[in-house]
C-alpha cells in the first residue's frame, strides 16, 4: 500500500515537529517537556484546521489557506471543488425547473396532477384559467370537490378510454374535455382542454349539411316531377326513353342521399333519444323481412329466426332504420344464389340483433372504416348496387343513441356478420309489457 503524496507530506511535517522538539530537548535538557509542548502545539494547529474545515462545510468561503501545509491545502481545495460543482448543478436544476414551469404555464391545456385519493398535487396556470382553481388554497383539496359536474365525477371514479366532455364552469357556452393519464406510482395526470371552438365548428358543419340538404330537396322534387311527367308522355321520341329513365333513377338516388343526410344530421344533433317507447322488435323484423321476399330469385333469400320475443325501449323510426339498413345492405351485397339470415335473440347481457350473409364480404383492413360517411370498399361496385353511402353511418349513430354497439365480422368472398348489442336496461320482456298494459 502506498500513501498519497499529501499524506506523506503530512507525516513529514509531523516528523519535523518531533525531530525539532527532540533536538531542542537534547540541547537544553527537559526532553519530555519539549516533546509535550511541541505535540500540544501541533494538536492546537490541527484543531484550528478542523475548525476551519467545519466552517467551510457550513458555507464559509474565506479561509486563510496560506498558513497551511501538508494535507490541508489540498483537502480544502477538494471541498471547494465539490461545493462549486453542487452550486453549478443547483443552478442548472433551477434553470431547468424554471423552464419547465414556464412551459407548462404557457400551455393552453390545463394539467393537474392527482394522487390516489384524487387530491390535487400540482396544477398549471391554464387550470386556474379554465377551472378557476386557486393556487394558494387548492393544493391538497380533492379535484372532484371543486369540479363537480356529475359526468366528471363519474369519469374520475371510473375512467373510460373515451375522454369526457363537461360544460365550462367559467364560460356559459364553453365546453371542456377531460382526459386522465395514469403515470408513476398511484399518480394521475388530468389534462383538460377547452373545446368550445371545436364544438362550435362541429355545430356549424352539421347545420350547414342539414340546411344544404333541405335547400337541395325542393329543386330536386321539381326536377323529379317533370321527369315523371316526361316519362309518361306518349309523344316522347323512343330514343329519349333510355336517358329519361336514367335521369329518373339518378334523381331518385339523389333524393335518397339527401333524405339520409337529413336523417344523419338529426341523429348527430344529440346523443340521446328524445322519447323512449316500447318497440315490438319481433313484429318490426317480420315486416322488414317481408319486404325482401324474393320474387323469382332476383336477390338472395332472406330468412328470419326469432329466438326471443323481447321488446326494446327506444325510438321506433330509429330502430327501424337500424334494422332496415343492415338487412338491405346484406341483400344488396349478396348474390341471388346466397342467403341472408336475420336473428333476434336475448341473453343475460341484453338483446342481440344479427344479420349474417354469404355475400362478397369486406377486406379486414377496411372494416374499421366502413361506418364512415360515404366510405366505399370498392367505389364501382357499391354505386352499382344503389347505396347512398350513408346507411352504416346512420346505423352507427342510431345505435349509439340506444346505448348499443355494432360489431362487424367478415371474410372476403365468404360473407359478413353484423351484430348489434343492446344493453339489458333497454330490453323489455313481453310479460313486463303485458303487466304494464
Amino acid at each position: 500500500m502506498t500513501l498519497p503524496n499529501r499524506w506523506a507530506s503530512q507525516f513529514a511535517w509531523l516528523a519535523i515537529w518531533v525531530i525539532a522538539a527532540l533536538s531542542l530537548g537534547a540541547w537544553f535538557g527537559g526532553m519530555g517537556w519539549w516533546l509535550a509542548g511541541a505535540l500540544a502545539l501541533y494538536l492546537a494547529r490541527l484543531l484550528r484546521r478542523v475548525y476551519l474545515l467545519d466552517r467551510v462545510l457550513e458555507g464559509a468561503t474565506r479561509v486563510p489557506l496560506f498558513e497551511m501545509q501538508g494535507l490541508w491545502p489540498e483537502m480544502f481545495a477538494r471541498v471547494e471543488k465539490i461545493r462549486a460543482k453542487a452550486r453549478s448543478r443547483k443552478k442548472k436544476y433551477h434553470k431547468l425547473l424554471r423552464e419547465v414551469r414556464e412551459s407548462t404555464g404557457a400551455l393552453s391545456d390545463a394539467g393537474i396532477i392527482l394522487n390516489a385519493e384524487n387530491e390535487i398535487v400540482w396544477f398549471n396556470a391554464a387550470a386556474t384559467r379554465l377551472l378557476g382553481l386557486n393556487p394558494a388554497t387548492d393544493v391538497g383539496n380533492r379535484l372532484d370537490n371543486l369540479v363537480r359536474h356529475p359526468d366528471f365525477i363519474a369519469y374520475l371514479a371510473r375512467p373510460t378510454p373515451e375522454p369526457v366532455t363537461v360544460p365550462s364552469p367559467s364560460d356559459e357556452s364553453g365546453a371542456l374535455m377531460a382526459q386522465i393519464v395514469p403515470y408513476g406510482k398511484e399518480q394521475r395526470l388530468v389534462i383538460i382542454r377547452d373545446i368550445t371552438r371545436e364544438i362550435k365548428l362541429e355545430r356549424m358543419r352539421r347545420d350547414f349539411v342539414a340546411n344544404a340538404s333541405h335547400e337541395l330537396r325542393s329543386p330536386l322534387t321539381v326536377i323529379g316531377g317533370y321527369l315523371d311527367a316526361l316519362a309518361e308522355d306518349e309523344a316522347m321520341p323512343p330514343t329519349w326513353r333510355g336517358p329519361i329513365g336514367e335521369m329518373q333513377r339518378q334523381a331518385e338516388r339523389m333524393t335518397r342521399i339527401l333524405r339520409d343526410l337529413i336523417e344523419l344530421s338529426r341523429l348527430e344533433s344529440s346523443d340521446r333519444t328524445d322519447s323512449d317507447e316500447v318497440v315490438d322488435v319481433a313484429r318490426m323484423l317480420e315486416l322488414i323481412v317481408g319486404e325482401f321476399e324474393s320474387h323469382g330469385g332476383e336477390h338472395a333469400a332472406v330468412s328470419l329466426a326469432l329466438d326471443s320475443d323481447v321488446s326494446l325501449l327506444g325510438n321506433e323510426s330509429e330502430l327501424h332504420s337500424i334494422f332496415y339498413n343492415l338487412v338491405n345492405n346484406a341483400v344488396r351485397f349478396t348474390p341471388p344464389t346466397g342467403t341472408v339470415k336475420v336473428e333476434w335473440r336475448a341473453d343475460e347481457d341484453g338483446a342481440v340483433f344479427e344479420v349474417t350473409d354469404t355475400g362478397i364480404g369486406i377486406p379486414e383492413e377496411q372494416i374499421p372504416r366502413i361506418t364512415e360517411r360515404f366510405y366505399r370498399v370498392d367505389p364501382g361496385r357499391s354505386r352499382a348496387v344503389g347505396g347512398t353511402g350513408l346507411g352504416l353511418a346512420i346505423v352507427k349513430h342510431a345505435l349509439q343513441r340506444h346505448d348499443g354497439t355494432l360489431q362487424i365480422r367478415s371474410r372476403e368472398s365468404h360473407g359478413s356478420t353484423f351484430t348489434c348489442r343492446f344493453p339489458s336496461q333497454r330490453v323489455v320482456s313481453r310479460t313486463a309489457v303485458a303487466e304494464a298494459v
Partner: protein, 246 residues
C-alpha cells in the same frame, strides 16, 4: 378550530368517513348545479323536452339526500363525533336539505320553462330572468366552492351577493305588475315568469344558507339571522384570531 383541524384524525377510518360524506355533499351539489343549469337552458332555448327531463331527474337529487342523510346518522351513532367533526356532520345535514330544496326549485323552473316554451316569447327572450339566473348560478357555484375550500371569506361574499339577487327579483316582480295592468292577456305568462323569478330568488337564499353553515363549520359560530354586519365582524374576528395564533 382552524382549517387544518378538520383534516386530521386519530382513526383513519373515521377520517375517511368524514371526508367521504363531505365529498358526497359536493357531488350532490354538482348534480344540483347541473339540474339548475339545464333548467335555465330549457328556458333560454325554449326546450320543453329538456325542462320536463329536469323535472323527472329531480328524483336523483332526492335519492342522494336520503343516502347522505343515512350516512350522517350512521356516523353520529357509531362515532359520536365532537368539536369540529360534529360541526362538519351538522353542517352537512343542514346543507343537504338546502341542496334538495334548490333541486326542487330547479324542478319548478324546468316545468315552468316547458310551459313557457309553447307560449309566445318576448323579443328579449326573458333577458331579465336569464340575468337573475346567471347571478343565482354563480352564487350556488361559489357557495359550494366555499364549502369545498372551507373558505369563509368567499362564503361571506356569497352572503353579500344575495341582496343584489333580492333586488333583481323585486324589479322583475314590479315590471310584471306593470305588464299585467297594461295588457291583461299576458297575465298567465307573467305569472309564470314571476313564479320562476321567485324560484330563482329562493335558490339564492338556499345558497346563502349553505354559506352560513360553512362559517359555522369553520369558526364554530352560528351566524343565522344576525345580519350581514355581524356576520362580517365574526368572520373578520375569527381570521384575526387565527393569524395571531399562527
Amino acid at each position: 378550530m382552524d382549517v387544518e383541524d378538520l383534516g386530521h384524525h386519530i382513526s383513519r377510518r373515521f377520517n375517511e368517513d368524514l371526508e367521504h360524506v363531505r365529498s358526497s355533499v359536493l357531488a350532490m351539489g354538482g348534480l344540483v348545479e347541473e339540474q339548475l343549469d339545464r333548467a335555465i337552458k330549457a328556458l333560454s332555448d325554449a326546450d320543453s323536452a329538456l325542462g320536463l327531463q329536469v323535472a323527472e331527474d329531480d328524483i336523483k337529487v332526492n335519492r342522494m339526500e336520503v343516502s347522505i342523510d343515512e350516512e350522517c346518522s350512521r356516523i353520529l351513532a357509531t362515532r359520536a363525533p365532537t368539536a369540529s367533526d360534529l360541526r362538519l356532520v351538522i353542517a352537512v345535514l343542514k346543507a343537504i336539505t338546502d341542496l334538495e330544496r334548490i333541486g326542487d326549485e330547479a324542478e319548478k323552473i324546468g316545468v315552468l320553462s316547458a310551459r313557457l316554451a309553447s307560449l309566445e316569447r318576448p323579443s328579449t327572450n326573458y333577458r331579465e330572468l336569464r340575468n337573475l339566473a346567471r347571478h343565482v348560478k354563480a352564487m350556488v357555484h361559489n357557495a359550494l366552492n366555499a364549502f369545498a375550500r372551507l373558505d369563509t371569506k368567499a362564503a361571506l361574499d356569497v352572503v353579500k351577493a344575495d341582496d343584489a339577487v333580492d333586488e333583481e327579483y323585486e324589479s322583475i316582480y314590479r315590471q310584471g305588475i306593470t305588464f299585467m295592468m297594461e295588457d291583461p292577456r299576458t297575465i298567465s305568462r307573467i305569472m309564470d315568469v314571476t313564479w320562476m323569478a321567485r324560484a330563482l330568488e329562493r335558490i339564492g337564499d338556499h345558497a346563502k344558507n349553505i354559506c352560513e353553515y360553512v362559517i359555522f363549520m369553520v369558526h364554530g359560530k352560528d351566524v343565522r339571522y344576525t345580519g350581514l354586519a355581524n356576520i362580517e365582524a365574526e368572520v373578520e374576528q375569527a381570521h384575526r384570531r387565527q393569524e395571531t395564533r399562527s
